[in-house]
């Protein structure tokens, strides 16, 4: 009997589903990969019944509804490896902006009838379940996903190298946006993205989360020196929910 193929699922909670789209956009590379596994559930491509056990589950999106949270816990209990896919799953994503605002007021602004609509603080998957690996980014870097998925399938442990976005930016020989006076978070943000943002003259806004062990104070001082006030900087840090890490005590 042939060795059984590992069972893999790709699941979304609440999000834009752009990370799933990125995976699909691997095109033939994804089809090649999917031949090596048993695809348990990938709602974009499959209409398949739930299986009892999963080897690897990739979860994109943030848990917002009660069903999202239940689904996440259920998946965890049935999976060997759980991978958080993208900024929403790894950090909370743009939905987390409301954590820095009056979220009840925001809810009432959008809906007349707020009954039965969940409005929790947005937290990453790791606040609910054990997460084995985070593939960050908004959206994910699809080539990084492919490399990581191949290793996981082969049973090789994976770690995302702790290097700043500046590392990727220098490889691309980009002009430094920070030095040009733009509010770029490259020095304190985890790289591995190939720096698509600075390469497009768009300053890094930290979608891959903070670089472990980076010193945040100097870059913040640098931005202040360049004329950005604390409130302006905080608005940027809120986009992907890292303000509370840098300024743990206070919000705007």
């Amino acid at each position: 009997m042939a060795k059984t193929k590992p069972v893999i699922v790709i699941v979304s909670l609440t999000c834009c589903e752009g990370c799933q789209v990125a995976i699909l956009d691997l095109g033939e590379k994804f089809l090649e990969l999917s031949g090596k596994v048993q695809l348990g559930d990938f709602a974009f491509l499959e209409e398949s019944p739930e299986l009892y056990h999963y080897d690897i589950v990739f979860v994109e999106g943030a848990p917002i509804t009660e069903q999202n949270i239940q689904r996440l816990k259920d998946l965890r209990s049935r999976s060997k490896i759980l991978v958080a896919l993208g900024a929403c799953a790894a950090l909370g994503g743009i939905a987390e902006i409301k954590n820095y605002q009056d979220k009840e007021e925001r809810m009432r602004y959008v809906y007349k009838n707020i009954e039965d609509i969940n409005n929790p603080d947005i937290k990453p998957l790791s606040a609910y379940v054990k997460v084995d690996l985070e593939i960050p980014g908004c959206p994910i870097n699809k080539d990084e996903f492919l490399a990581v998925a191949k290793k996981l399938i082969a049973g090789i442990p994976v770690k995302i190298p702790q290097r700043p976005v500046c590392y990727d930016c220098q490889i691309k020989r980009n002009e430094c946006l920070l030095q040009k006076g733009e509010p770029c978070l490259g020095p304190i943000t985890l790289g591995g993205c190939n720096a698509p943002c600075p390469s497009s003259n768009y300053p890094c806004d930290g979608c891959r989360g903070l670089l472990a062990g980076a010193s945040y104070q100097n870059p913040m001082k640098q931005l202040a020196k360049q004329g950005f006030n604390e409130q302006e900087v905080k608005l940027i840090l809120q986009r992907f929910g890292v303000e509370d890490t840098i300024y743990p005590d206070k919000t705007i």
């Binding site: 789209v21 069903q67 925001r106 602004y109 959008v110 497009s200 768009y202």
Partner: protein, 432 residues
């Protein structure tokens, strides 16, 4: 009798279906949307005009370009900022990329399997390897258009108020231009496949709505045309559209003059078919589709025709942009202009914009403070408009597929899913 489908795969976002049938009469037919409320219109308030179009693009990973650009257009309208002709051309090319890549995804990967009773696309790909290649080639072309101009295909980076942060490499645009012939052949292959499928013979009447701007198959500018006749400015239409919320639902449904209406490919075809490009028009004539078409399943062949039309349109616009010099004027150095405009605002200034997203007309409204922050925001997505229409159709269609039977088994459930998928709903957009 109760009909319940817990989860409908192969749509964008999560939804189930529930219906109640009492004495052979459909009492309720609902798409149960299972997306969390991200409160986008709320969280954009108080945020800077320069960042909101990047945040709002995250409403949808399938159609981020149209969210990004509609947001920018609404801001520019509010701030009275004009864009250059080249900027408009490049934005339209990005939109064509988006409309092409989204339709290719929906047609081949979401909807096609419904016609063969195959739940798994990987099997479908084995059965139609050549068409799968066509679909991937066409989708990649759309992605590349966005990537070359926008810096990235999902959540593009370069578009900003007044223009672009960085202009595309002309060499890369030339490479895309050279591919258009090959891509058009694949688009035609796909369209042939979809025009030859057998669609359920289900006809109803309903208002159909899209942008319209003679002599174009409008996507980026124009007025809102309702059922081929009445015309309204987007801001006016936004006032007329009535949105309502069902208890516990995080999606707002929409009505026009008290009636559920349909937006998207078949509505665009109904309003604008005269302006299809030659190859698309030829296929349209050969298919003998009579307009106005009131069969919602025809959203599928309409999308297929649109892909052909848009590849032709991309070729035209690429040729045009390649004949021009991209200059500094197209790069947004309009910060001073934004500042001047903001300085003139007394209390607030407002702007509305509408463009054709893959699934139908998308509206953004912003009110901006003198400090350059968002005071108020309203976003109406295509699926938020289509949802009430889809439910009305399901209610109407159910007795036909149930017949005299008292249960909705697999084949009946398959037809429900098929109609849902024909609308190409995006529940993440609908909820946002």
């Amino acid at each position: 009798m109760e009909i319940k489908i817990d989860h409908i795969a192969k749509i964008e976002g999560h939804a189930g279906f529930a219906a109640d049938i009492i004495d052979g009469r459909v009492d309720k037919a609902r798409l149960e949307v299972q997306e969390g409320a991200r409160l986008l219109e709320g969280i954009l308030r108080g945020r800077d005009v320069y960042e909101v179009s990047q945040i709002s693009a995250r409403i949808c990973g399938v159609c981020p370009v149209v969210h990004n650009l509609t947001s920018l257009k609404a801001l520019e309208k509010a701030l009275d900022i004009e864009i250059s002709e080249n900027t408009a051309l490049l934005r339209q090319l990005m939109m064509l990329g988006q409309l092409i890549n989204s339709h290719a995804l929906h047609l081949f990967f979401f909807s096609l399997s419904d016609f063969f009773g195959i739940g798994k696309d990987l099997e479908l790909i084995k059965k139609y390897p050549a068409r799968a290649k066509d679909a991937l080639l066409v989708r990649n072309f759309g992605n590349r258009l966005i990537e070359v101009i926008g810096g990235r295909s999902i959540h593009p980076l370069t578009p900003t108020i007044g223009g672009f942060l960085k202009l595309p490499d002309k060499q890369k645009l030339t490479e895309l231009f050279k591919k258009t012939d090959r891509v058009l052949t694949s688009a035609e292959n796909l369209a042939k496949l979809f025009l030859n499928l057998e669609y359920p013979d289900y006809i109803r009447t309903a208002p159909f709505v899209s942008l319209s701007q003679k002599p174009a198959y409008a996507i980026y500018d124009g007025l809102i045309k309702i059922s081929g006749e009445a015309v309204e400015a987007p801001a006016k239409f936004l006032e007329i559209v009535e949105q309502y919320q069902l208890t516990g639902s995080a999606v707002k449904r929409s009505l026009y003059q008290g009636k559920p209406f349909m937006v998207g490919a078949v509505s665009r075809l109904n309003n604008n078919a005269t302006f299809l490009n030659p190859a698309a028009k030829k296929m349209f004539s050969a298919a003998k589709i009579r307009l106005p078409n009131f069969n919602p399943f025809y959203n599928i062949p309409a999308q297929a025709l649109e892909i052909v039309h848009r590849v032709e349109e991309s070729e035209k616009l690429l040729r045009k942009i390649l004949s021009k010099d991209l200059t500094k004027n197209d790069i947004a150095e309009k910060k001073h202009l934004v500042k001047t405009r903001l300085a003139k605002i007394k209390d607030a200034t407002a702007g509305t914009a509408a463009i054709e997203a893959p699934r139908g007309t998308l509206y953004y409204f912003y009110e901006i403070t003198p400090g350059g922050k968002i005071a108020n925001c309203r976003i109406i997505t295509p699926t938020a408009q289509n949802l009430a229409r889809l439910e009305e159709d399901l209610k109407d269609y159910l007795p036909e597929i149930l017949g005299t039977k008292n249960v909705c088994r697999a084949d009946c459930q398959a037809k429900i899913k098929m109609l849902v998928r024909a609308y190409d709903p995006c529940l993440t957009c609908a909820t946002h």
